[in-house]
């Protein structure tokens, strides 16, 4: 049935759908195939050839009525209504509402990402996803190479409310991996330099800089108020260290997400992992997952080599033959983390099947591997 309101609506064939036409034995009839490139689903229908003009005009700019008038299309309006209804039901086209969530300049700024969000979460308009992202509040603990790149990528994507926590200053060796480090900000506080970088990306970014170090005795109430959606911890030791455990327990009860980031030592291209009540195992179970997996592996390292006491720099963190790392590897780690963080912030937790897993990329084989976090038997928190 073609209701009156349908004629006034603007429809659009989704940007993620390829449309192919095949001629059939009859001139009046065309076979049309819709190919959803994300899911690789195909939908094939046969329609009156005079409907092709309508299909190719469904780009969201004109109402259905305007399309019919402009193209002088004389077709049975009820049939057009049926076709539109059918395609809506199959998620091949969508109704375009006038934007009410975000203003035009923001739609322009994020247009291609909004299109991507349209596909990522089909049941929600891309503009609404973008709007939601822009309202979220996150805390990033540790503004080293991975923390800095995650912050930078998230602000580019439209996350605007960020608290940065780090007590260190930038030094010369940070130029290799820190996205915000340059010759002019050496020796300044990392949080100040990163904050400036983020505000250059978006002057509306609302950044709070905290120059302190999180220790086992830190009062987390002062750092994380209840309006925070996610805390990203990039300042920790391999696997899940005591700061992540402290944070994980604290945030679990408040139903705030924790993202334990990768990108260090033996995990240069790691995704890190999300900890969130109701979705993933709790922090203690994750930590125990690693403990059990590694219980028979007690490696020894060569401590006789590599430590260089440099007379010029008096640096203690230079370990030749130790952890490597390039900007490109940090970028990989941060990119995986940002995909997961944006999925979390948009509530798209069914969007990928790796939500309980930590990813490690193996450069030499060009392989992405995943390690699953498991709820431990008898856990009283998440079990």
């Amino acid at each position: 049935m073609l209701a009156f309101f349908m004629l006034n609506n603007k429809y659009k064939v989704k940007d993620s759908v390829d449309v192919y036409t095949f001629s059939t034995d009859s001139v009046d009839c065309t076979r049309v195939q819709f190919y959803k490139i994300n899911t690789r689903e195909k939908l094939t229908i046969e329609i009156d050839s005079s409907f092709l003009n309508i299909l190719s005009s469904l780009d969201g700019s004109l109402s259905l009525q305007e399309i019919l008038i402009k193209n002088e299309i004389l077709v049975d309006i009820t049939e057009v209504g049926n076709l539109i209804d059918y395609l809506l039901g199959k998620d091949v086209i969508k109704i375009i509402n006038s934007p009410t969530y975000i203003c035009c300049s923001e739609i322009n700024r994020y247009s291609r990402q909004i299109s991507y969000f349209d596909d990522l979460i089909p049941e929600q308009e891309g503009e609404l996803s973008q709007y939601k992202l822009m309202q979220k509040k996150i805390v990033i603990i540790g503004c080293g190479s991975v923390g800095g790149t995650i912050a930078s990528q998230l602000v580019r994507a439209g996350v605007l409310n960020i608290t940065l926590v780090d007590h260190k200053h930038i030094n010369e060796s940070n130029l290799v991996r820190h996205i915000y480090a340059n010759k002019n900000n050496i020796n300044t506080y990392k949080v100040d330099a990163l904050s400036e970088h983020l505000k250059k990306i978006n002057v509306k970014a609302n950044i709070t800089e905290i120059k302190s170090k999180i220790t086992p005795s830190s009062n987390l109430d002062e750092l994380v108020n209840d309006s925070v959606d996610l805390v990203v911890n990039t300042a920790d030791e391999p696997y899940i260290g005591h700061i992540s455990v402290k944070l994980g327990r604290y945030l679990w009860d408040k139903s705030i997400g924790l993202y334990v980031a990768g990108g260090f030592d033996a995990h240069l291209m790691s995704s890190g992992e999300l900890i969130y009540k109701g979705i993933t195992p709790c922090i203690d179970c994750c930590s125990n997952t690693f403990r059990y997996a590694l219980k028979d592996w007690k490696p020894k390292y060569n401590y006789n080599s590599g430590i260089k006491s440099s007379s010029l720099t008096a640096r203690t963190d230079v370990l030749i033959g130790g952890a490597g790392g390039t900007f490109a590897q940090t970028l990989y780690s941060s990119s995986l983390a940002c995909m997961n963080i944006i999925d979390f912030l948009l509530g798209n937790l069914n969007g990928n099947n790796k939500v309980n897993k930590r990813g490690e990329f193996l450069t030499e084989r060009c392989e992405q591997t995943w390690f699953e976090m498991k709820k431990q038997k008898g856990c009283s928190i998440c079990g």
Partner: protein, 363 residues
């Protein structure tokens, strides 16, 4: 060999149990096991501290056979577990670039090889064509990894809608030329970087105008189409035997990791084209695409930066001459966002290829 000095890298994790030596290279996350029947093997290996000679070690571990030890050393060098210390690193490497030094220690057999690799990076000229969601990030990654000579090609200006996915562009840069903005921001990281800016379109006459010597060309340009820009670049590179990386980027449903081509060593662009044509022809016989205006193709920065990251790592291996360690050649590689996985489809170098085959144009 007895006077040589070796170092067991501190990033190597060792476990010795039941005559099996289990070795884990923690930077690369590579692991292997070998049978070693020598109880004191860990202590012996730990005595390779970058100062003692093999002779010094043999004097302490008298019960090991010299030839056996030489064989073991050669094997562990090949596996990048030991590194030969034949020169000291300059002070500036240690204070400013120790992470890069460590990165290259996993690809080099000696400390002089590490120094030579970093030197090669600093003297190479790399051309990046197209400064968009992939090209900007590759440029920054390479400069931060020690590249000092870069040729940037793009005739476009920075737009507001670029900021969400293109690196090193900021709000204050809107309407300025991309090559100018990127040059300025790269130089703020390392003022000694030399940048050759080309504000021009990549047409078929392009290389007659800019026929310089390049050690690597990376194509990140998609206008008018990725296929067209790739062909122009690949032809020039095949003719002049220049390694190239082409075709990476986000393409709606998947992220294509750019193919790395070393002319006449790996499958070339034409090998790929012919291979993929066979698959596509079977799929799309007699089909037309419906004309649509206003199609706004989705893009998501973390997917583009995955492509940029992997292209950069291969680029670093190419300019430092580590051709045997390249990982993105002879395969079409996709990052699948839903599965968060890498899919690899092998494409072999084709002996009948009209470009690189036995009777090929660029053989």
């Amino acid at each position: 060999m007895v006077d040589d000095i070796y170092r067991l890298k501190s990033s190597i994790a060792l476990v010795y149990d039941d005559n099996i030596l289990d070795v884990f290279l923690s930077n690369l996350r590579e692991q292997f096991k070998i049978r070693v029947e020598y109880e004191e093997i860990l202590d012996l290996l730990f005595s390779f501290d970058g100062e003692k000679t093999v002779n010094d070690v043999l004097k302490v571990y008298r019960n090991i056979d010299g030839d056996d030890l030489f064989d073991l050393i050669s094997f562990l060098i090949k596996k990048n577990v030991l590194i030969k210390v034949d020169c000291e690193y300059p002070e500036s490497f240690l204070s400013e670039q120790y992470r890069l030094v460590n990165f290259f220690e996993d690809y080099c057999s000696s400390t002089s090889d590490v120094i030579a690799s970093l030197k090669l990076i600093s003297t190479s000229n790399v051309m990046i064509v197209g400064l968009g969601a992939v090209g900007t990030w590759i440029s920054e990654s390479l400069i931060r990894s020690g590249l000092k000579n870069i040729t940037l090609v793009d005739d476009d200006t920075v737009e507001f809608s670029n900021l969400h996915r293109q690196g090193m562009f900021f709000e204050e840069d809107i309407d300025k030329f991309k090559v100018d903005v990127l040059s300025e921001n790269l130089c703020s990281v390392f003022p000694d970087v030399k940048i050759n800016k080309i504000k021009d379109k990549l047409t078929s006459e392009f290389f007659s105008k800019y026929n310089d010597t390049y050690d690597l060309i990376i194509n990140c340009a998609d206008k008018p189409s990725v296929d067209e820009t790739t062909r122009i670049i690949a032809k020039f590179c095949m003719k002049n035997k220049i390694p190239h990386i082409v075709g990476g980027g986000y393409n709606l449903h998947l992220t294509l990791i750019g193919q790395t081509v070393i002319p006449n060593r790996t499958a070339c662009v034409m090998c790929f084209e012919k291979h993929l044509q066979k698959i596509n022809d079977a799929d799309l016989n007699g089909v037309k695409k419906l004309t649509r205006k206003n199609r706004r193709i989705g893009s998501f920065s973390p997917l583009s930066t995955i492509a940029a990251s992997l292209a950069t790592i291969d680029a670093l291996k190419i300019v430092s001459g580590k051709y045997d360690r390249i990982s993105n050649c002879n395969a079409r590689i996709e990052f699948n966002v839903r599965e968060r996985d890498i899919d690899k489809h092998l494409v072999e170098k084709n002996d009948d290829c009209e470009w690189c085959g036995n009777n090929g144009l660029y053989k």
